[in-house]
Amino acid sequence: MNTPIYLDYAASTPIDPRVAASMHQCLTNVELQGNPSSLSHRYGRAARGVIEKARQQVAGALNAKPVEVIWTSGATESNNLALFGVAHYHADRGKHIISSKTEHKAVLEPLKRLEKQGYRVTYLKPDEFGIVHPQQVQEAITPATILVSLMHVNNEIGVIQNIGEVGSLCSERQVLFHVDAAQSAGRLPIDVKQMNVDLLSCTAHKLYGPKGIGALYVRRDPVVGLEPLIVGGGHELGLRAGTLATHQIVGFGLAMELMTKQRDADHARLTILRDQLCNGLQGIADIKRNGHATQCVPNILNVAFDGVEGESLLFALQDLILSAGAACSSGSDEASYVLRALGRSDQQAQSSLRFSLGRFTTEQDINVAVAAVSREVTRLRSISASLL
């Protein structure tokens, strides 16, 4: 059996060997084994030192201050902390939140729970390309609105939202603005100050770092009030209790720094590979690209293959590692809610595949992928040709 070709970078990226080496070094250096909160001895202070270096690395990539970076277990926890934290802390100001129908479940599920707690949530509908227009946000804001939460880059279709413009209009109206940047942190230039972002979620495992570590940027000037989800020893300025995972944080810091350093080169290379993939797939009849052709990241391409059942196509492409929908929900038989929000039928949504490329994808990988998809789409269509 051939080694499968990994085209699921949007679900999770492999760890960069340089990141793995830094984590290994951290795990095997006895001087870094102290509790980073035990500042009374040198092992604790040494561990704290590497954590603060990583905090600078992550903050630097966002143009944030290190003190504004709170470590979490990943983007899901960051989103939960941002949404529940703001909603509960600012409940006396209002109970209205604005978001969109195409957010990740890590935002939608907390919002559903907040609705049960008496909050009102407006879910904006994106246009047919997946874009939420700032004008929609502006029109939805009411005096009771306390928070707008939008993702920077959609995980299924790769569409980039106009975060700067939304941030600006939220700032003018004194509405807090949270951005789920799980797919964009390190990959796209982010300046939280210039973009008027108050809270921003990111995670290491989408940028060649380890799973299980993430961060929430929380603006400090002026400070954003936030009620913590996890309480205990008062870690992370009282916003997230728990002993810090030194090696995870070290890996995250380096991964973010490498992403930022290689961003332009990665972007250019991935654009070429994505276009090669897109052009190759154009040779297959009756396909449709999901998302926007230009307002998108170069590493995600989502395509609907008319007349082909999605689960069968995914299974037929066993030599390719990719997703029919978002990784977190791909165990579900349900058609993608993101694609349905774009106006795709259940059948079109169910017949769509997400190809996501990354640092280790090669031109040869793309050629093999195009040939395999073309072959299997043709085969599956041929055995269902006469059916209604």
Binding site: S386, L387, L388
Partner: protein, 132 residues
């Protein structure tokens, strides 16, 4: 709780899905066909049977659906070959579910195959007994 997830397939499912020996269509005077299900519902199949002297000489199918469904359709077509018309009603979706380890949540798809077979049998009976 089922211990088979949507993406776990028994080896026989894999083999039948990859090698669909009966995929295709048949034509000719002794051929009947019947369709059941729909693409909208996620599963659809058409079954062709060529009957000579009250016995199925050849069977073929076209199918739209998940690997379990395609494998089950392939299995059905193979099973039909060599059976008499009277024996066709003995096909059991329960046996196929067991044989291919198809999750309970997908039982409805096997009923689509049963419907296609039943319709084909009805056509065969009416064709061979036009006055009845």
């Amino acid at each position: 709780m089922e211990n088979v997830t949507q993406f776990d397939y028994a080896p026989e499912v894999v083999q039948r899905f990859v090698n669909t020996l009966h995929a295709g269509s048949l034509d000719g005077v002794n051929v009947v066909n019947a369709q059941a299900g729909s693409r909208e519902s996620g599963a659809s199949a058409r079954l062709w049977l060529q009957v000579v002297n009250q016995r199925v000489k050849k069977a073929a199918f076209q199918g739209y659906g998940c690997p379990h469904f395609i494998a089950a359709a392939e299995s059905l077509a193979e099973w039909c070959e060599g059976r008499t018309v009277n024996e066709l009603s003995l096909w059991s979706w329960q046996k196929v579910q067991q044989q291919l380890a198809i999750p309970t949540s997908k039982r409805g798809r096997l009923l689509i195959l049963e419907n296609a077979l039943k319709k084909a049998i009805e056509t065969l009976i009416s064709t061979h007994n036009p006055s009845s």
